[in-house]
């Protein structure tokens, strides 16, 4: 091998210096995002119909019994806010993984039917099978994986073409959404709140039991995904180039899909398919951090921030209490249209 490569040239210094500079900028932005998420988290605990000062909040977290705060903060706000962060991270990670792997921002799991599948399965489990808790999550993840396999199989013809996959995903999503509508219409109590939860996502009435499975999913699938970050970046270069660089493409893809679907399914089983968070986190992260670098961690943070802010606004910013999914839906859908316009105009690869 070329063991005689000179590592002391000025060329090497320049390359190293630039790389470090880019990395530093990126880390700075991520730090800012973390601070924002923490601030939003704290604000969600303190503010609301009643304001509780940080000291009260801390005491409730530490287990003390504070009149008023223990219920509002401890039973209502903390589980809800924790789920907001965790679900946001899960959706952000799941979305950016699919978008990067399939090299297309429109190939997000909530557009190509995976969220719809998890949601339909969860609704089915709850309404028809009368299951609860972690059983619902289990059904959701199986359904999510089944949909992913189905889409992959249906769009496979000497390889997977992006355009065909997206179209088939849209078709499957439409089918599953109507299935969910039907299931909801047969539910014993026709409750609009419950409907919106399963069709667009809601954090109302979150309990600790609902939150725990998602935490577990994040603890299991999160590290798997983070470990594959480099391989994911390689996949961006195209299957052939990635393989030429030593990536086991098929195996990597399977691992990525399982991890991403796992995260999305568990989060959907707890909070419903919070509209567009999976889809938006990646592109927003790209605008903040700049494209060309790994978007995995930024997207997770953006996802958490989106859900936190949207849920807070949904509760207090308007006259009515809107579930988080409606807020993200109303904001996200126009952004989707904007993306399509921008992409069409620049002759982008759709």
């Amino acid at each position: 091998m070329t063991a005689t490569l000179d590592t002391s040239t000025s060329g090497t210094d320049t390359v190293a210096a630039n790389r470090v500079r880019r990395g530093r900028r990126r880390r700075g932005i991520i730090a800012v995002l973390v601070v924002l998420v923490a601030a939003a988290f704290a604000a969600s605990l303190m503010f609301g119909k009643t304001f509780y000062p940080p000291s009260d909040v801390m005491r409730v977290i530490l287990g003390e019994d504070v009149p008023g705060a223990s219920f509002t903060v401890g039973t209502l706000r903390i589980p809800r806010t924790v789920l907001a962060v965790v679900a946001g991270i899960c959706f952000g990670l799941g979305g950016v993984t699919f978008q990067t792997m399939l090299r297309n921002p429109l190939a997000s799991p909530d557009i190509i039917g995976i969220s719809s599948g998890a949601s339909a399965a969860a609704a089915f489990a709850i309404i028809v099978l009368s299951l609860g808790g972690s059983q619902v999550s289990a059904v959701a993840i199986v359904a999510g994986l089944a949909v992913a396999v189905l889409i992959y199989a249906l769009s496979f013809r000497n390889g997977v073409a992006g355009t065909r996959l997206i179209l088939i995903g849209i078709g499957i999503a439409a089918m599953l959404d109507s299935l969910t509508s039907y299931l909801l219409s047969t539910a014993a109590t026709w409750d609009l709140q419950e409907t919106t939860r399963w069709l667009t996502g809601s954090l109302n009435g979150t309990t600790w039991t609902a939150t725990v499975p998602v935490l577990v999913a994040l603890a299991v699938f999160g590290p798997v995904l983070l470990g594959q970050t480099r391989n994911l970046s390689m996949l961006q270069l195209g299957d052939d180039t990635a393989q030429a660089l030593g990536v086991r493409v098929e195996r990597t893809r399977i691992v990525l899909i399982i991890a991403a679907v796992g995260l999305i399914a568990f989060a959907t089983a707890a909070a419903g398919p919070i509209a567009f968070v999976a889809f938006l986190s990646g592109p927003i992260a790209a605008r903040i951090v700049g494209p060309g670098t790994s978007l995995v961690v930024p997207a997770a943070l953006v996802g958490a921030l989106l859900v936190l802010v949207a849920d807070f606004c949904g509760q207090y910013a308007f006259g009515t209490r809107y579930p988080v999914g409606v807020v993200t839906g109303v904001l996200g859908a126009p952004y989707l249209v904007y993306l399509i316009i921008r992409s069409n105009r620049s002759g982008g690869s759709l």
């Binding site: 249906l154 355009t163 065909r164 179209l167 088939i168 439409a174 109507s178 299935l179 609009l192 069409n344």
Partner: protein, 347 residues
């Protein structure tokens, strides 16, 4: 209209498809329609004695059975009309956009109509059928224009993929807006919800009567566009070379489709995939000549929707499944089948 020999283009489209075959299919279709119409009145989520059925047809509603049958009659009429409207609109849309995936549901036209209706109900206190229909048509037209404009930006114009995507995105946007509008309004929430799934269950002759003029105009305008759609199918430049005024012809045909979709959605809610599936089925049977395809699509659409409605009433006895769900469950796999069949280049 066309200045050159009227048969030069139509000849090219009709070679190999003997008229005899088409007439045969027409007869079959007519027979199927009659059978379905009868079945729709006779079968339902509740079993009714023959004597009651005949009595109800005569106009009496003395007992529950007769009452049920009496409700089925306008329902059947509605299913036939809406099905025909959607089938025809789909065929026209596929011709106007030269896009095998065009469908009022996929292109967001239904959602546009729905949003307009919901906004009208919530903020403008519109309750009469006629005003709702006007509003729905307006919404359908705006949505169609928007989706088409967004889809035709950039290289390649309005390719099937770009149209489908802009349709899906616009539908999603409108769906979110609909939810946002309806959520705080418990007064209209219930009726909006059940209407939104898309069903012909709440039909009455009154509603049908209100929609009839709009549907009639829509049918006439669309059917008269058959010849220009044949020219448009050859491409804008070729059509212009044959003397067709492309923009006007397209506009008129689109107007017909929008009228049909708007009126249909206003009285039956958004029903997807009928406009997609029906023209493809008809093309397989009788070819691509729009002078045959359009009327066939109307008749097949009527048959399909009626069959779906009957299915919805039988499958989940004693309750029913709304027809919009059945068409989605059957239509989506068909949509996927079409996507798979197309070569990548065409998409």
């Amino acid at each position: 209209m066309t200045v050159t020999q009227p048969d030069s283009t139509s000849g090219a489209l009709t070679t190999g498809r003997p008229t005899f075959g088409r007439l045969l299919w027409l007869l079959v279709l007519a027979g199927v329609l009659v059978a379905l119409t009868v079945m729709s009145v006779v079968i339902g989520s509740r079993d009714v004695e023959w004597s009651d059925i005949l009595a109800a047809l005569g106009g009496s509603t003395d007992n529950i059975g007769q009452g049920a049958v009496a409700k089925r009659i306008p329902r059947t009429v509605l299913a036939l009309l809406v099905g025909a409207a959607l089938g025809l609109a789909g065929a026209v849309m596929q011709g106007v956009t030269r896009n095998p995936l065009a469908d009022p549901g996929i292109l967001g036209v239904n959602m546009g109509a729905s949003l307009a209706v919901v906004v009208g109900m919530a903020y403008f206190g519109l309750w009469t059928q006629t005003s709702m229909i006007w509003v729905a048509i307006l919404g359908a037209g705006i949505a169609a224009l928007f989706v088409y404009t967004v889809g035709s930006l950039g290289r390649g114009g309005a390719t099937p993929l770009k149209l489908a995507l802009s349709g899906a995105a616009t539908s999603a946007a409108f769906a979110s807006f609909i939810t946002a509008v309806v959520l705080p309004r418990n007064d209209i929430a219930g009726s909006v919800r059940s209407w939104q799934i898309g069903g012909v269950g709440g039909a009455s002759f009154d509603a049908v009567g209100q929609a009839l003029p709009f549907l009639a105009v829509g049918f006439v305008v669309s059917l008269l566009s058959a010849r220009s759609l044949n020219s448009l199918a050859l491409g804008d430049e070729v059509a212009a070379g044959l003397g067709e005024r492309v923009a006007i012809a397209r506009g008129i045909a689109a107007l017909g489709a929008v009228l049909l979709c708007g009126a249909a959605t206003a009285i039956a809610g958004p029903i997807a995939f009928v406009g997609l599936v029906v023209p493809h089925l008809c093309r397989m049977l009788i070819g691509v000549d729009n002078r045959w395809l359009l009327p066939f699509s109307a008749l097949t659409g009527a048959a399909l929707l009626t069959a779906a409605d009957i299915l919805g009433r039988i499958v989940a006895r004693p309750s029913e499944i709304d027809v919009g769900i059945i068409t989605a469950l059957i239509g989506a796999p068909f949509f996927i089948y079409i996507v798979r069949r197309q070569k990548i280049r065409e998409l």
